[in-house]
């Protein structure tokens, strides 16, 4: 850290430093072998019997595996897709633009193969291998639904946005106060210690703000706001009481702690090529953190290419006894057995598995006494906000590609004073913040010739975009179900998605646009324009809610410990468990709920209750 501070004070050294740095990619390749952890154990036992089975290896599954293994349970992780070992399976992590076949663009053939995944805007030649082939793995859209998937070891933890924000009781109490859906069976105090627990292991950089509705956590040093962002912060905080500008709270190691270094994880180098996999293990993923930690215990095994068919239910004991899988390649059906099962396949895949796990006791799907399984599908609606150009600060620039932008916490409908009568709940903003335009500006600005060419070598004007992220309400009508006839290549009924944003969200979007434009204008931005192109539900890649937690088995699928009300040894801790959506990124909440549920499950197991 001290070196970096020195460096920051001596910008004139940059030229020298740059030439040094240019040597580095080869160093990284050498370094890779030194810090490589043992590959994940894929050797299974002979009886196919474990203490615990975890379905899925993404954000939630990785945490379930780590916690179960560390508590001494022999644990098998079943992953639908292929193996991705940290570092060695990140083929593009050190590639430069000109080293790609199409400079990073998807070939026409790949555009077809990823025809739904590309709706996210995040699939390119450098990242396509971490997205699901839509042709091989179809689903049915009754309404457009952008299901962005990562079926491989690590799941979407490889490509996530990395923003981590705690929920508060503003979120946990919203349903019951407003008479929407059902009440959460937990409150902030129930999850707060688990947030701290997972934040320490994950490593989250961020600034403490002391806000009740966006609680502070265990943070590594925050990343810095650049010149324009600092100006924007000053102006907005002066002119709008109650609006805070801060840097994104993100899962990047700005100051690795001993437990991070032990896993071979290092400090963020500001490359912003995260979604290809990080050669430094600087951002949190299952692959860089939870799965290696689980692997180190000796209690861990993972079976990739395992498409879960259903969870096996025993009518006599009224418990699950194991999991049926279809091998992704051979299509052979295999059964694995365990005392406790964590279903962490991601919201919609989990829903598909539970709906397909039928028995005499559960003809409509495992744990579906309430009939709510598959309903209340939510996401965050985004892609609305405003952007503008800033005239000034021409002599200022920055160094490094900081992998996050500014963040504006929710400021609407917090209390009576901030009430907007047009809609319930609220929104926050992530900023594509304050950068100077690059050569790409030449595409839309008129000009050809020598002067035009030379001008694009120079940094362009400063600009900023504020992207709103809004809460979606849990509507019973927003539903995932199984098709009665059509099946995929593994014999599993296709998922049918029938969900959309509705009036509350549409009204909220008007405010999201207006407020963003107002803040940019107030801070002196010119040419401010608003944008609003929602796409389909799902494009926020925060789908959740289809097996909700609740207090009453008649109206919910899971109890306050993420346990299926009527099947005590099956737990669901991915986004399916969510009773409402808040407007903040959900991963850290899934992680905290997972660690909490494992703690409960293992104590119940020890008591002989499972």
């Amino acid at each position: 850290m001290s070196n970096d501070k020195n460096f920051a004070q001596r910008p004139s050294d940059i030229r020298n430093r740059k030439s040094e740095i240019a040597q580095r990619p080869s160093d990284i390749r050498n370094r890779k072998s030194e810090i490589r952890m043992a590959n994940l154990n894929t050797t299974l036992n002979k009886t196919n019997t474990y203490d615990a089975i975890v379905i899925g290896s993404g954000m939630s599954g990785g945490w379930a595996a780590k916690e179960l293994c560390e508590k001494g349970l022999k644990t098998l992780v079943l992953e639908k897709g292929r193996m991705v070992n940290h570092l060695e399976d990140y083929p593009t992590m050190n590639m430069e633009a000109w080293e790609f076949e199409n400079r990073g663009a998807l070939s026409a053939e790949d555009q077809e193969k990823y025809h739904i995944q590309t709706r996210s805007g995040f699939v390119g030649e450098s990242t396509k291998h971490f997205f699901t082939n839509d042709l091989e793995d179809p689903y049915i859209e009754k309404e457009r639904f952008d299901w962005i998937r990562g079926n491989h070891v690590g799941g979407r933890s490889l490509t996530w946005g990395k923003h981590c924000y705690r929920w508060s009781d503003l979120d946990f109490e919203a349903n019951t106060k407003e008479g929407i859906a059902v009440d959460w069976p937990i409150r902030y105090k129930d999850i707060a210690p688990w947030y701290t627990y997972v934040e320490k292991f994950v490593g989250i950089s961020g600034e403490k703000l002391g806000l009740d509705h966006l609680p502070d956590g265990y943070f590594l040093p925050p990343m810095e706001l650049n010149c324009l962002e600092q100006h924007f912060k000053k102006e907005v905080e002066k002119k709008f009481r109650g609006r805070n500008i801060t840097i994104g709270r993100v899962a990047h190691l700005t100051e690795p702690q001993p437990w991070h270094l032990e896993l071979g994880r290092g400090k963020c180098q500001n490359r912003n090529r995260c979604s290809r996999g990080c050669p430094f293990g600087a951002y949190f993923s299952s692959n860089s953190a939870t799965l290696p930690a689980a692997n180190l215990t000796g209690n861990f095994a993972i079976r990739p290419n395992s498409v879960v068919h259903s969870i096996i239910y025993d009518e006599k004991t009224q418990k699950a006894t194991g999991v049926r899988v279809v091998d992704h390649e051979s299509k052979e059906m295999i059964e694995f057995y365990a005392k406790v099962i964590f279903c962490c396949a991601s919201t919609l895949a989990t829903t598909q598995i539970l709906l397909h796990s039928t028995s005499n006791r559960f003809p409509k799907g495992m744990g579906n006494d309430s009939g709510e399984l598959g309903h209340n599908l939510m996401d965050h609606h985004y892609r609305t906000g405003a952007m503008g150009v800033y005239e000034g600060l021409e002599d200022e620039y920055y160094k490094g590609r900081r992998p996050t932008g500014l963040f504006i916490p929710r400021f609407t409908n917090l209390d009576d004073k901030t009430k907007n009568p047009n809609f319930l709940r609220g929104y926050d903003y992530q900023g594509n913040g304050g950068s100077r335009a690059n050569w790409g500006r030449g595409t839309n600005s008129p000009g050809v010739g020598a002067e035009f060419k030379e001008s694009l070598f120079k940094p362009g004007p400063w600009n900023m975009a504020l992207m709103g992220f809004g809460e979606c309400l849990p509507y019973h009508e927003n539903q995932a179900s199984l098709d009665a006839e059509k099946k995929d290549q593994w014999g599993i009924p296709l998922l049918v998605l029938n969900a959309k944003i509705r009036e509350n969200e549409l009204k909220m979007r008007e405010a999201m646009k207006t407020d963003a434009a107002e803040m940019l204008s107030a801070a002196g931005f010119k040419d401010v324009i608003t944008f609003d192109y929602a796409g389909g539900l799902g494009v926020g890649v925060h789908e959740m809610g289809t097996a909700r937690m609740g207090r009453d088995p008649k109206t919910s699928v899971l109890n306050g410990n993420n346990q299926i009300h009527a099947v005590s040894n099956v737990f669901v801790t991915d986004g399916a468990c969510m009773t409402s959506a808040s407007c903040v990124n959900p991963s850290i909440t899934y992680m905290a709920l997972t660690a909490r549920a494992v703690d409960f499950a293992v104590s119940e197991l020890k008591k002989g209750n499972l």
């Binding site: 026409a108 390119g124 979604s275």
Partner: protein, 197 residues
């Protein structure tokens, strides 16, 4: 700056309907073939020759390399074959033919034979007339998919091929593959040209 790292913010990367139909037969020309020191994989030799002169007019050689020297025409020819959908391919080839037709009508000669001023004027007129690309953030286009105007596509591909080349990224722009520390505020003079990425 990102929710996820930026891919590339050009609408033609986002994908339209794709078919495998080949277009080459539609544009068979009976004119004499232009001389070209490379073999195009998608365009005819005449079309490729026009493309080469057009890209060089947009980004001419000065003290720094021009588009031709850095293989931009070859790059675009490859992108036409590998990346663009059928609609964009057709529009692109038709656009190149239109440049030649305009050149004949206005100046009575092929584009390659026009003076630099005549070439500039021809392309600037097209640049002004072409619709701009919709706004994008994090590489996400914030408008429904729509066909991109030929000239906007051409210009976007030309700049993309040139400014992401190894030569420009490492020798002209400021190249910093592994930045290490992030410096939030710093005089431009300390950096020089824009960062390559």
């Amino acid at each position: 700056m990102n929710r996820r790292d930026v891919i590339i913010s050009s609408s033609w990367l986002l994908g339209y309907a794709v078919t495998s139909a080949s277009l080459s037969t539609l544009f068979l020309s009976c004119q004499a073939e232009a001389k070209l020191d490379w073999q195009p994989m998608f365009l005819s030799k005449n079309q490729a020759a026009t493309l080469a002169e057009v890209t060089e007019t947009i980004l001419p050689k000065t003290t720094t390399p021009g588009a031709k020297e850095l293989g931009v025409p070859q790059f675009i020819d490859k992108m036409l074959k590998e990346v663009l959908g059928e609609g964009d391919q057709k529009a692109f080839v038709a656009g190149l033919e239109q440049i030649e037709a305009d050149s004949k009508t206005q100046h009575g000669k092929a584009f390659a034979e026009c003076s630099p001023a005549e070439r500039n004027a021809l392309l600037l007129a097209m640049d002004k007339a072409a619709a701009t690309q919709p706004p994008s953030v994090w590489g996400i286009t914030l408008a429904p998919p729509q066909p991109t105007d030929f000239f906007r596509n051409l210009k976007s591909l030309t700049l993309f091929g040139y400014y992401t080349s190894e030569e420009v990224c490492t020798k002209i722009l400021s190249y910093d593959p592994v930045p290490g520390a992030y410096i939030a505020c710093l005089p431009v003079a300390e950096v020089g040209n824009a960062w390559s990425e």
